[in-house]
Each structure stands twice: as structure tokens, then as C-alpha cells.
């Protein structure tokens, strides 16, 4: 739904939560909008091809449970939120930030527009849409019988309300982005100049029209269709309440409502949620009578699953071997919408010009050096040995799950230390003083400072392994401050271009849209390496132009871009990953396939 959601993957809690809300494309779409500080990495996997890309290890996981028995009448299910900490409980699409909140939301609330396996909006949901000739106007119609849990019908003004909240000057969340701003009149409203959003027109309670400033294919994947029950939570526009009060109101935290298949009965803050069936669900009667969703520590999740306490749970990758042979469950997995990478700092963010400025004299300015470092990393071993095949070497910056855009001809740089050495030799990085480490082209000592994030047992050996790999080709790489940094300290340095850092290990979760300009564009503040080039600018622009509504055109552009990235190596992708989920064998009609979110109401348990 959102044009593109890229999400930072912090390795911080990799172990805690390589945890995917894998269950749903829908879910993942907004997951993309999570800020969630990386806790939830990978939480949004979206569309997926069966299994994996070509490089995936020979693991073969199903996407849906095999039990095809009839769901029992009035079944009860227990679902885990695998987390080392309590969920936050901001249960509103506009305001929430944590992944776990997103998981809860997906049970009782949904978008008006459904999405398909390609994350594009469809007419299968609670509303239908129509795009105008010039792709600038979207007309939305809510179907009959879509009702909030309190029985009120869902109205167009409820969707308008979401836009009014997101664009409100007091709004302090992270969902006011350029797709929202693209609505005609939104910038003026956002600055407080007007009270109306001129680009949104309410035709009647079930029909409304959105007008956009620019036509962009992003609308098809990024359209915000989450309505807010204005009558229930109170109206900010009339002064009935304020944004701040709304955020902390009981209507959002204690007994929120939506129009999803289940209603929230009770919340034990930070700990568990009890849902009951929404008999009036517009798609039909949900299969389960009730659902308990509770926080389970990653340390104990496998035991809980084994014991049968939990019907559905994500499984941290490092516990794969333990869970593999548990016989009361079935493992589902898909390749996650994420990749880990090594970033090479090459410049600075210019806050005045609001753009990245590449420094040609930066320590990491040598393309050969960057390429060599990529060759030096033995990612295949890490994936196989450390993650038992649940991770595998990355090749390009558009991950293989975007089947249409991932360029398979780009093969990445597989472990090849000899080639790396050759590259360095040729580029003039030679060990001139005989200390075992190469000096730079000018014969100066070369010490590369490497920042990596702490968290989980694997973070440290991986960082260590890379440093060994680089040492093996004669590069002296040292950890910044001699230790791993926690999430905030790490990103504080990376964001602010701390000169202490030359390279860093980061991770991005990608959303439903392959467009990488938010991460690699000249004006993207998230382009932490500060890499820029004219060619890059050109390609990224073309990828989101109106022409790009043509799939073939867009594909070609992105193939070129992937080639460019392979050649220039602003970042070196290290691994792609599987997201693993365990389902008890009694679970039926459950699938993690993208686009199957709409079937949530059919999930059930058999005898």
C-alpha cells in the first residue's frame, strides 16, 4: 500500500526478533511505516516468491499449513508475540510505532483497500477504488455493511479523519511522508494555513475522491486506506480532543475498535491481548471464537511452542536447529524483505542544501577498495554455519523477492580473497612497510574504522569474522571504540557522519516497493554512505516517473541501477534472510503468503 516502505533493520535485536509478522502482506505493508527502531526488522515481508531466490540455500519451506481439516466451531487460538519486552500499546494505525502494536492492529483493524500478492491495491477489500486517466485522481467507494465494532458504519469521513490526523501540525509520528504530502492541499494544511485538505473530496458517506499533485506508481502500493473511527475516538478538528490526548486516550490504548475480524476484549498492558469474534465482520463470520495473543520471550518461545501453549509464533533464526525436529508443529518460511550490508562512508550530509555531498578524498573513496572488501567477506559460511542456511549471501540491492525487479544477472561478489588482493594490489594498496597490513595509495597507514551494532550473540562473532576476512587480505580494520554499539549510539554516529566511522554494518528492511531512492538518492537523508552520482540520480528519477507505470520500463531502469550499485559499491550487501514461523499442527487455513491477509478470518484450529 505505501509506496515503498523501507525499514531499517537493526541487528540490535536480531536474535530477539527476527521475527516477522510474516502472516500478512497487509500487515507488512504498514509495518513498513513502523519506526520501531529496528526492533522488528524484517517484520514486513511482503510479497514473496515461493521459497526464495536462486541463491537461497536448499531449504524448502511451505507458505501455508498443510492441515486441511475443517476448522472446529468456536475454536480458540494462542498466538505469540516474540519479544523480550512488553508491547507499547498504541493501538491506532496513525500513531503506533512498535511492530508488536502492528501485530495487534492486524487482528482487529484493516485497511479499506486490500492488496494482492504484489502489494498493489485491489478491489477485494472493504472498499473499491478507481484511478483516473491521468493517474492523478483516485475515487474510493466503501462497500455496504462495513461496520465498526460498535456497530456504526465505516464512513468516508473516517478515512478523511486519518488524513487530517497525519497531516495535522501537531502530528509527531512518522507517517507524514511524501505520499501523504502528494495529496493536493496537504502541505498547506500541514503548515496550519488551512483547515481543509483541498485534494480530498467527500462525495457521500461511502464515496470520496483523492487528487494528487503528481502521478506516481507509488500510489498503487502506498495509498493510505486506514480509517479512524472519528465518532469513537473523538474529533480533533472540532476541538473535542487534541492529538496528544488522543494518543494516550483509553479509546486507543485500552479498548480500541476497528472493523477487522476480531474485537479486542481485554488488554493486559504490555503483556497480552484477548480477542473475540466479530460476528458482524463484513467478509463473514470468523472461524475462531477467541484469540489470545501474548508476549513470549525469545528465550522461551521454542519451549512454549513445543509444549503446545502457542499455536503461532515466529522463531528466531538461531533457534532453527532446536525447533526443526519438534513434531507438533509445522515450520513455514519465506524470504524476508530485508538485507544486511556493509556501508562505506564517502561523504557528509549537507543540512543546508538538504542533500548528500560525496567527498572524493574520503578514506573509502576508492571503488577498488570497496569492491575488494566485498570480495573478502565469507558470507556463505556465515549463512550456512551460523544460521543453518536461513541466511544466504546477498547479491544486489533489490532483493530477490521483487521477482520483477531483482536482476539475477548481478551475481554479487562471492568470497574470493585472491581476487580481492589482486584488486587492491592493482589499485595501489600495498604493504610497503612490511607490517602485514596494506597502506593506502599514497603509502600512508590505512586503518579502517568499523562500526557495528551490538545485540544478540551473533552480532559479535560476525563483526569479528568480517574483520578477520579483511585482515586476511591485508586490510587493517578496527572496531570503533573497540566495541559494538547499541542501536542508538550506533545510529547517532552513522546519521551524524561521525568521523570516527569509515565503514559500518547496517541492515534495511525493504517494503513493498522496490524503489530505492529513499535509501540511495542524493536528497535521501537515509543514504548514510553519502554516495552520490549523476547516473544514480538519473536512474532513480526514471524509476518513479509516470512512465514507470509501465512495468517493463521500470524493470529495465532498475536493472541498470543494480548494475551501477554492483560496480560502485556504495554498500556491499552481505546476506538475505529467511523469516521462520512455527504453526501448531492443529492450525488450519493459515498462510503467510503475501496477499492472503484477507483470509485471516478463516484461520482456525482443528480438533
Amino acid at each position: 500500500m505505501k509506496k515503498r516502505s523501507l525499514m531499517l533493520l537493526a541487528s540490535l535485536m536480531l536474535v530477539l526478533s527476527v521475527f516477522l509478522a510474516a502472516c500478512s502482506g497487509d500487515d507488512s505493508a504498514d509495518g513498513g511505516k513502523d519506526k520501531d527502531k529496528g526492533k522488528d526488522k524484517g517484520k514486513d515481508n511482503e510479497k514473496t516468491e515461493e521459497g526464495s531466490g536462486d541463491n537461497a540455500a536448499e531449504l524448502d519451506f511451505p507458505l501455508a499449513v498443510s492441515n486441511d481439516a475443517e476448522a472446529m466451531e468456536d475454536g480458540e487460538m494462542t498466538v505469540a508475540m516474540v519479544a523480550g519486552e512488553p508491547f507499547e500499546g498504541t493501538l491506532n494505525r496513525n500513531f503506533y510505532s512498535g511492530t508488536y502494536d502492528a501485530e495487534i492492529l492486524s487482528y482487529f483493524d484493516e485497511g479499506l483497500l486490500d492488496t494482492d500478492g504484489d502489494y498493489l491495491i485491489t478491489n477485494e477489500g472493504a472498499a473499491t477504488y478507481e484511478l483516473s486517466e491521468d493517474n492523478k485522481t483516485l475515487t474510493l467507494k466503501i462497500k455496504d455493511g462495513v461496520k465498526w465494532h460498535d456497530g456504526e458504519p465505516v464512513k468516508t469521513s473516517d478515512l478523511l479523519y486519518s488524513y487530517q490526523l497525519l497531516g495535522h501540525p501537531d502530528y509527531a509520528g512518522n507517517r507524514y511522508d511524501f505520499i501523504i504530502e502528494n495529496v493536493v492541499g496537504m502541505p498547506e494544511y500541514h503548515e496550519g494555513k488551512t483547515k481543509e485538505i483541498s485534494g480530498i473530496e467527500i462525495i457521500n458517506d461511502q464515496e470520496m475522491k483523492f487528487t494528487y499533485t503528481e502521478a506516481s506508481p507509488s500510489i498503487l502500493s502506498g495509498f493510505w486506506s486506514y480509517a479512524t473511527p472519528r465518532h469513537y475516538v473523538g474529533d480533533v478538528m472540532t476541538g473535542e480532543t487534541t492529538i496528544k490526548d488522543l494518543e494516550s486516550s483509553d479509546k486507543i490504548r485500552v479498548n480500541p475498535i476497528g472493523f477487522g475480524p476480531y474485537k479486542i476484549d481485554k488488554i493486559v498492558p504490555g503483556e497480552s491481548v484477548l480477542y473475540s469474534r466479530n460476528d458482524d465482520y463484513w467478509r463473514g463470520k470468523p472461524a475462531l471464537k477467541s484469540i489470545v495473543q501474548k508476549v513470549v520471550s525469545p528465550a522461551t518461545i521454542v519451549e512454549s511452542v513445543k509444549k503446545g501453549d502457542i499455536d503461532l509464533a515466529t522463531i528466531p533464526a538461531d533457534q532453527y536447529l532446536t525447533v526443526k525436529d519438534v513434531d507438533n508443529i509445522e515450520l513455514l518460511a519465506q524470504v524476508d524483505y530485508a538485507y544486511t550490508y556493509i556501508g562505506f562512508k564517502q561523504g557528509k550530509w549537507d543540512a543546508k542544501k538538504k542533500e548528500n555531498v560525496t567527498d572524493p578524498d574520503a578514506k573509502m573513496a576508492s571503488k577498488e577498495l570497496r569492491q575488494a572488501m566485498w570480495y573478502a567477506m565469507d558470507n556463505a559460511t556465515i549463512g550456512e554455519k551460523l544460521y543453518h542456511g536461513l541466511r544466504f549471501p546477498g547479491t544486489s540491492l533489490i532483493i530477490p523477492v521483487f521477482k520483477s525487479f531483482h536482476d539475477e544477472s548481478v551475481e554479487g561478489r562471492m568470497f574470493d580473497p585472491e581476487k580481492a588482493k589482486q584488486l587492491l594490489d592493482d589499485a595501489g594498496f600495498e604493504d610497503k612497510d612490511g607490517d602485514g597490513f596494506r597502506e593506502d595509495q599514497n603509502g600512508e597507514k590505512l586503518v579502517i574504522n568499523f562500526a557495528s551494532m551490538s545485540g544478540g550473540e551473533t552480532a559479535e562473532p560476525i563483526a569479528k569474522a568480517y574483520m578477520q576476512n579483511w585482515a586476511d587480505i591485508g586490510l587493517k580494520v578496527e572496531l570503533v571504540d573497540g566495541r559494538l554499539h547499541d542501536f542508538n549510539a550506533f545510529y547517532d554516529m552513522v546519521e551524524n557522519d561521525d568521523p570516527k566511522i569509515d565503514i559500518y554494518q547496517g541492515a534495511w528492511g525493504t517494503g513493498s516497493d522496490p524503489d530505492p531512492s529513499g535509501l540511495y538518492g542524493r536528497t535521501a537523508s537515509f543514504n548514510y554512505t553519502r554516495y552520490t552520482s549523476e547516473k544514480n540520480d538519473e536512474l532513480l528519477k526514471a524509476g518513479t516517473s509516470e512512465k514507470a507505470f509501465d512495468l517493463e520500463y521500470r524493470k529495465d531502469i532498475y536493472n541498470q541501477w543494480q548494475e551501477l550499485m554492483y560496480e560502485d559499491v556504495p554498500v556491499a550487501p552481505t546476506v538475505y534472510r529467511y523469516a521462520l514461523e512455527a504453526a501448531n499442527k492443529r492450525v488450519v487455513n493459515y498462510s503467510i503468503e503475501p496477499g492472503k491477509e484477507s483470509d485471516r478470518y478463516k484461520w482456525g484450529v482443528a480438533e
Binding site: 525469545p298 521454542v302 519451549e303 532446536t322 559460511t381 562473532p461 572496531l479 566495541r483
Partner: protein, 301 residues
């Protein structure tokens, strides 16, 4: 004049000098448990501290993903960890680091607490009042939380800074203890005697009062030594442990965070847990003997 016979007597008396250390040793010798503990502890410590002689630290720290989670075998006496590193070697280095940390914290905090406590106890009155108000305040601080905040703040997180931080929160309890005993000691006439003999205050504190508190200090230190070794472990578990370049017992024990490792990879965490338990028990049993040595009523020897 001094006769030959008396000279012998003098020599005998000199030899008979029952210093605190001697008394402690005598007490330990008479307590089998303490003796065994001492031998065991010394064995552990000597092995750990001499480990750099036969272990190449660089090599030990080297990650090798081809050998992760190996079971104990001849090449790896205690198997390997998630980075394929030899657990036995890490156990030795870890013991050394953990013990160094525990000991340094105990000594630094002990010294600081002792100084402050002696000053408050010796002078009493106004000085004591001021110091105690400060200590009262410090006692209110939730120290674990503060240590965590400090760990997040310090840019250069190493054994050294870690020791400093822990010491910063470990001294006031000691100061309190020393001070209260010091206040009692202060009322005793040998202190008054020294005052009337014109002995300067600092000398009275160091040479008169301190020796009389030394047994208390030693007893307290043995106990806190055990605590301080444990605290590092706990912080590691919470994710605020030492950098991985400094293996410690805590690093190894903190592997025990999920059932798989607890059940199936016991060789990583169990030896370290047992070692810490054994060390703490040893220290405690020795401490018990030291305590008896300091209290003539309870002596076995």
C-alpha cells in the same frame, strides 16, 4: 642490661609475632574446608593468570564458523562457542578477567570506602554528619540502573572503565560499615591515649584505628569479592557486559539465554557457571575462616 638469655627470649617473641595474616593462616589450616578452598582457589587463579603462557589470545579470539558449537573433544576440551572459539581457553581468560575485575573493584572500592569511613568514624560530629548525609543519598541510588546508564554513556568501555564504574557504586556501603565501627572504636581509650600523646590525626587513623578494623575490612572484602565477580556476569546477561574482546565468565554464562543452549550446548555456559559457583564458595569458606580469625572467641586454632 640485656642478657644472652634474654636475647633468646626476645628473638623468640619476635618470631612468635602473631600478625593478622599469620592468625588467618593458622585458622585456615585448622579448617579443612577453608584449606581445600584456598588450594582450589589458588589453583584456579594461578592457572587462569598463567594461561597467556600457553594460550595464544589472538588465535583464541579468532572466529571460525566452520567449527561452531562443537562438542567437547580432544582438540577443544570444552567444545566451541557460536564463533567456533575454544571454550576452555575462553574459560581461562574469562576467569582471569572476571577475577581481575572482581578484585580490582573490591580493592578500589574498599580503599575508598575505608578512607571515607575512617575519616567519618574518626572525626565524628560535623565531618561525620556531612559524610553520612552524602552517603545516605548515595545509598538511595538504584545502583544497578546507574551502572547501566553509565555503561551506555562511556564511549570507551573497557575493563578499566568498567572497574571504575562498579567501584563508584560499591564504596559507600563499605564506608558506612567502617564508619560505624570506627565511631565505636573512637570511643576506646587507645585512641584517646594516642591523642594525648600528641599523635597526629592521620597517624591515629592509619596506624591505630585501621589495624583494629582490618579484620572487619578483610571479612567484608572477601564477601564483596564474590559479589563483584557475580555482578559482571549479571550485567553481561542484560546485554551490558564487557566488549567481546574481553572474554569473561559472564560472557560465557550469558550464553545460557535460550533453552537450546541450556540443554544442548551445556559446555558453553555450564563450566563457567560451575567455576563461578566454586570460586564464590571457596572465597566464602575462606572468608568464614578469616572471620573466625578476627574473632578470638570463634577461633578453631
Amino acid at each position: 642490661m640485656v642478657t644472652v638469655n634474654q636475647k633468646e627470649l626476645i628473638a623468640k617473641e619476635k618470631a612468635n609475632n602473631p600478625s593478622l595474616l599469620k592468625t588467618i593462616w593458622r585458622e585456615i589450616r585448622h579448617d579443612k574446608l577453608a584449606l581445600v578452598s584456598l588450594v582450589l582457589l589458588l589453583g584456579i587463579i594461578i592457572t587462569a593468570y598463567s594461561s597467556p603462557l600457553f594460550i595464544d589470545q589472538e588465535q583464541l579470539q579468532r572466529v571460525n564458523f566452520l567449527e561452531t558449537w562443537e562438542k567437547p573433544s580432544e582438540t577443544h576440551l570444552l567444545g566451541t562457542d557460536d564463533g567456533g572459539r575454544d571454550v576452555f581457553g575462553q574459560l581461562l581468560l574469562g576467569t582471569r578477567n572476571s577475577f581481575t575485575i572482581g578484585l580490582s573493584v573490591t580493592l578500589i572500592a574498599g580503599l575508598f570506602g575505608l578512607t571515607i569511613g575512617l575519616i567519618a568514624g574518626y572525626f565524628g560530629g560535623f565531618v561525620d554528619n556531612i559524610i553520612m548525609r552524602i552517603i545516605d543519598f548515595l545509598m538511595v541510588l538504584p545502583s544497578l540502573m546507574f551502572i547501566i546508564v553509565f555503561i551506555v554513556i562511556v564511549p570507551d568501555y573497557s575493563v578499566f572503565t568498567f572497574v571504575l564504574m562498579m567501584s563508584a557504586f560499591a564504596w559507600f556501603g563499605k564506608a558506612r560499615l567502617i564508619r560505624s565501627k570506627g565511631l565505636a572504636e573512637r570511643e576506646l581509650d587507645y585512641i584517646n591515649a594516642s591523642k594525648t600523646l600528641g599523635t597526629p590525626s592521620w597517624k591515629i587513623m592509619v596506624f591505630e584505628m585501621f589495624p583494629n578494623l582490618s579484620s572487619l575490612v578483610i571479612v567484608n572484602m572477601t564477601l564483596t569479592l564474590a559479589v563483584n565477580i557475580g555482578l559482571e556476569t549479571s550485567l553481561t546477561f542484560l546485554g551490558f557486559g564487557l566488549p567481546a574482546s574481553t572474554p569473561s565468565l559472564g560472557t560465557l554464562i550469558a550464553f545460557a539465554t535460550n533453552p537450546d543452549i541450556v540443554q544442548n550446548k551445556w559446555w558453553v555456559w555450564l563450566p563457567a557457571s560451575l567455576l563461578i559457583l566454586v570460586m564464590m564458595l571457596c572465597i566464602n569458606y575462606i572468608g568464614q575462616a578469616v572471620k573466625r580469625a578476627s574473632d578470638a572467641r570463634q577461633r578453631l586454632a
